[in-house]
């Protein structure tokens, strides 16, 4: 029993020793000129670059990147594990990513859309480069590869560039969703191009923003004004509300490209106690339903007796608006 226990301990030690040896082999450079040295140089440059200032810091950081790229390129070409279906080594993908980050990254965001877009193309170029050198190790020289190899390289490059184009297309679509956020309130089920990865939002948020900012402005124009003046305002509501709306849209939707696609229109309806003013914000941009959609906020306008005036005939207006906006799909009701 004792001996078997010792055996186990010895086995465990042996395992740890092997592990350490493996790590040592990985970490310790076998020769002065090897990939480990390059990686160490890159780490070293990184450390140094923190101490330096100004353009010297940039130069050291720059060489650090070069060392890192060269080191990984070297390591990953040592034993090529290839991307299934192609002759591109996985290492080229890693090196390609590093080159791409190096070329298009910023200090603020390391990975930018450009990094991702150019990644496949750069990886393909990196895969192709060794084909243009004959021989191995130190005795390599530039040479034009065989016809078959050239064809292989061209096809790999073509497909990688196509994948880059697809990625760029994704970023174009993503940019559209950012510039026209009201698009995400609709379903993309009929699209031949895209699928959705997040649930659609219930109502277009910008429409709500416009209506909620409009409400106090309209209330200010009407509340407490003499009834006759308010009736005149309502007759010219198209113009009055249009002007207010333009200001609101310009102020609140300034950063979105979709600001030109919203319109504001009033609908005035007679009710028995006064008038109902419907404020509509109408989307004139792309939508799943060809007749578009609109949001509506209803306000009830009534005459009340003026409190602090002697004569009762000078009634003033009171306005009360709904808290929630209604969302309609389809064309708005016809203008009066």
């Amino acid at each position: 029993m004792n001996s078997s226990f010792f055996k186990e301990v010895i086995l465990l030690f042996k395992f740890i020793q092997d592990l350490l040896l493996g790590i040592q082999e990985l970490i310790m450079p076998p020769k002065a000129f090897s990939w480990q040295v390059l990686i160490y140089l890159s780490v070293f440059s990184w450390g140094i670059s923190y101490l330096a200032i100004g353009f010297i810091k940039d130069i050291i950081a720059f060489s650090g990147w070069l060392f890192l790229i060269a080191g990984t390129a070297w390591y990953t070409t040592d034993d090529p594990l290839r991307v299934p279906g192609t002759f591109m080594p996985v290492g080229a993908l890693i090196t390609g990513l590093l080159v791409s980050v190096f070329a298009f990254g910023h200090e603020v965001n390391v990975v930018t859309p450009k990094t991702i877009v150019f990644w496949p193309t750069i990886a393909a170029i990196i895969t192709a480069i060794p084909e243009f050198f004959a021989g191995t190790g130190t005795t390599s020289k530039a040479a034009i590869p065989k016809l078959e190899v050239r064809q292989k390289v061209i096809i790999l490059l073509a497909w990688s560039m196509l994948i880059s184009c697809w990625l760029q297309f994704y970023f174009v679509l993503d940019k559209w969703l950012k510039e026209y956020p009201s698009l995400s309130a609709q379903n993309f089920l009929r699209s031949t191009f895209v699928i959705r990865l997040e649930p659609k939002s219930k109502t277009p948020q910008n429409g709500n923003i416009i209506l909620n900012k409009m409400q106090p402005l309209v209330e200010e124009q009407i509340f407490g004004k003499p009834w006759s003046e308010v009736e005149k305002w309502l007759i010219e509501a198209n113009q009055e509300l249009g002007n207010l709306g333009k200001g609101v849209i310009f102020k609140n939707l300034e950063k979105y490209d979709e600001k030109g696609l919203w319109g504001i229109e009033p609908r005035v309806v007679n009710v028995k106690s006064g008038y109902r003013l419907d404020i509509l914000t109408i989307w004139t941009g792309p939508s799943a339903n060809t007749r578009g959609f609109y949001l509506q906020k209803s306000c009830l306008i009534q005459p009340v007796a003026a409190v602090n005036k002697q004569e009762n005939q000078n009634a003033v207006a009171e306005i009360e608006c709904d808290h929630t906006n209604k969302f309609f799909i389809g064309s708005p009701p016809p203008k009066q």
């Binding site: 050239r150 073509a158 196509l162 969703l177 026209y180 699928i195 030109g260 792309p286």
Partner: protein, 182 residues
């Protein structure tokens, strides 16, 4: 704003799959046409078909990426409408699309011809040894032969492009019909 990465909300997977399907159809048809008309062996003709089609679509995408930011808001909403919702706001756009499709056809034909010409030259000349022209007559004969090859190349590219476009249009028609039935 476009410099920042965010979690993907949509993905153009359908566009990628459709384009791959169309490319495979076009490559097999055009490879066959090249093999039949230009007497390339099967492997070479498939190589030319792949390179021609894939590079010409890369070229087309780049034109799209160049033009897209320059569109005014009206045209851009039509484009967005088509890509996201498969419809147009303005019914007049339909005829513009047909005109555009014709332009694209001509454009791809030109690009494909240029590509195959460049590929044939680069792939054969670099490796091959330079032939020394001995007499004037031989030189003249060679130029004549090159011109003959050019016209043959143009007609072959045109035929290959037409057939593959017909096949792709056919697939699109079937797809639209199946959507209509739903």
């Amino acid at each position: 704003m476009p410099e920042e990465l965010s979690l993907p909300r949509i993905f153009p997977i359908a566009a990628m799959l459709f384009e791959t399907l169309f490319l495979l159809v076009a490559i097999s048809i055009e490879g066959y046409v090249l093999h039949r008309w230009l007497k390339f062996d099967k492997k070479t003709s498939i190589f030319y078909a792949i390179a021609m089609n894939v590079f010409s679509s890369v070229f087309g995408w780049n034109i799209f990426f160049l033009l897209e930011p320059r569109l005014d808001i009206k045209l851009k909403s039509e484009l967005i409408s088509y890509i996201f919702f498969n419809n147009f706001r303005n019914p007049g756009t339909q005829s513009t699309i047909i005109f555009l499709a014709f332009l694209i056809f001509l454009g791809t034909f030109l690009i494909k011809f240029l590509l195959i010409k460049i590929l044939i030259i680069t792939l054969s000349e670099i490796g091959g040894k330079e032939e020394i022209e001995t007499s004037q007559k031989q030189k003249l004969y060679r130029i004549e032969k090159m011109q003959l090859q050019d016209t043959k190349l143009i007609t072959t590219t045109l035929v290959a492009n037409s057939i593959s476009y017909t096949a792709i249009s056919f697939i699109l028609v079937i797809r639209n019909l199946s959507i209509g039935l739903k």
